[in-house]
């Protein structure tokens, strides 16, 4: 079993404060961030394990002053280098230096097509700067994905978001419904779409995909609370992806730190190969031995691997439970209750909980 990709969270610092940020609530402080030479070794170890892609992300990866060196080191390790950025702090000169260092692809996040709303969800005046950066990226010879996170407050502007991606010359548009981990679960009530919004969104995405075939690819992440079966989270626990946080802790996904009885090992103390192949945290939910019923005897267990362990923990308090979004799960009623509230008429929660920056 080899990892396809390494997600490298090189810093948790970020000038944005997005209300659905996937970073953990407890973030790694600047003082604990790993040095350039340690990351360089980690990239080589990941490539030796079989990883072909590295996603440099954060926080905001541009906040690292050594980003150019990190890109060069990842490319030298024979990895495909993707930068996942808000664009804030990325000047034209800096971008060109990253491209010279071997950057293959840039994924630029947008919060909305409407500037005031985008800035509200980001907790920062970032939208205009993103637009300016996109105009520069479109003229460069790197892959360009525009990522838009969608939810209750912006799904009604989906057509405008697609039009914006077309206008900005993206090769690919990722329309991702909010996943409820990290900061998003704090704002779940304000973010959860209605059934009507979801149905309209699915139909609109299909129409745009057909219309833009061969020009711009659209990938769609549905909101899994509305699904009948759970998502194959990360392609299965410890099967194809690993994430390394700013301080060097290696996790099977963005959210796994919420699972209380797991201990994650650090690349500064152990070889990455040992962590991937043998460490207790990566072994814990691999394969099928851990599965309860109804997963254990379910025909879909090879497709969805029992769903998401973090979601099971967050909703039921038990990381071993069947993902409660599954219609066969004993705890599906917990998800149905959230959906029922989202579709009932009534007052909305008043205030956003904004992501704060680490120390």
């Amino acid at each position: 079993m080899r990892p396809q990709a390494l997600i490298a969270e090189i810093t948790h610092r970020c000038p944005l404060h997005c209300v659905y940020c996937s970073n953990p609530l407890a973030m790694q402080p600047r003082g604990d961030e790993m040095a350039t030479d340690v990351w360089t070794r980690v990239f080589r170890e990941a490539a030796a394990l079989g990883a072909l892609h590295v996603h440099l992300t954060g926080g905001e990866p541009v906040a690292r002053p050594d980003l150019e060196e990190l890109v060069r080191a990842a490319r030298a390790a024979n990895l495909y280098v993707n930068l996942i950025t808000s664009g804030v702090g990325l000047s034209e000169g800096k971008l060109d230096a990253l491209i010279d260092a071997g950057l293959d692809h840039l994924q630029l996040s947008f919060q909305d097509a409407d500037e005031a709303s985008a800035n509200e969800f980001a907790g920062a005046r970032a939208h205009a700067r993103k637009l300016a950066l996109a105009e520069i990226v479109r003229a460069r010879q790197i892959g360009f994905t525009l990522n838009a996170v969608v939810h209750r407050q912006n799904l009604d502007r989906l057509d405008a978001i697609v039009a914006m991606a077309e206008r900005l010359g993206a090769d690919r548009l990722e329309i991702a419904n909010v996943q409820y981990y990290g900061w998003a679960i704090e704002n779940r009530e304000k973010l959860m779409p209605t059934r009507r919004q979801l149905d309209a969104c699915v139909a609109a995405v299909r129409t745009h995909q057909e219309r833009l075939k061969g020009r711009m690819r659209i990938d769609f992440v549905p909101p899994d609370y509305y699904a009948r079966y759970p998502k194959a989270c990360m392609g299965g626990w410890g099967r194809s992806l690993m994430l390394i946080d700013p301080a060097g802790f290696v996790l099977p996904c963005h959210a796994a730190a919420v699972i209380p009885d797991l201990t994650f090992d650090n690349v500064q103390a152990h070889p990455l190969r040992w962590i991937w192949e043998e460490s207790p945290a990566f072994q814990r939910f691999r394969g099928e031995d851990w599965m309860p019923e109804p997963c254990r005897s379910c025909d879909r267990r090879h497709e969805d691997f029992g769903g998401c362990r973090c979601q099971a923990l967050l909703l039921t308090g038990n990381a071993n439970a069947t993902d409660p979004v599954c219609s066969l799960a004993p705890d599906r009623k917990l998800v149905d209750a959230v959906i029922a509230r989202a579709n009932a008429a009534g007052e909305e929660a008043a205030e956003w909980v904004y992501r704060i920056d680490p120390a």
Partner: protein, 90 residues
């Protein structure tokens, strides 16, 4: 794919040889594992050679007995990549 078409890899797509995994086509969020003549075709999709040039070079390299079959298979291979926006045609 017509003989005059000039195919090249789309931006953000890169051919790479991995010591353990062989020839792979790295694309945003994915990997295509290549076998047979795939890598040799894509190495020549550099925006300077036409599809006719590529076929001629493949013919020289492999001494393929059936040129029409090579053209049909290489053309279908590239057309599939064009539909996925991995290869673009001038």
């Amino acid at each position: 794919m017509t003989p005059a078409n000039i195919p090249r890899l789309a931006r953000g797509c890169r051919l790479s040889e991995d010591p353990a995994q062989g020839w792979v086509l790295l694309i945003p969020e994915g990997v295509l594992r290549l076998s047979g003549p795939g890598p040799r075709i894509l190495q020549r999709c550099d925006g300077s050679r036409s599809f006719a040039d590529i076929l001629r070079e493949l013919g020289d390299e492999f001494a393929a007995p059936d040129a029409a079959l090579v053209e049909a298979e290489a053309g279908a291979f590239l057309d599939r990549l064009v539909a996925r926006r991995i290869v673009v045609v001038e």
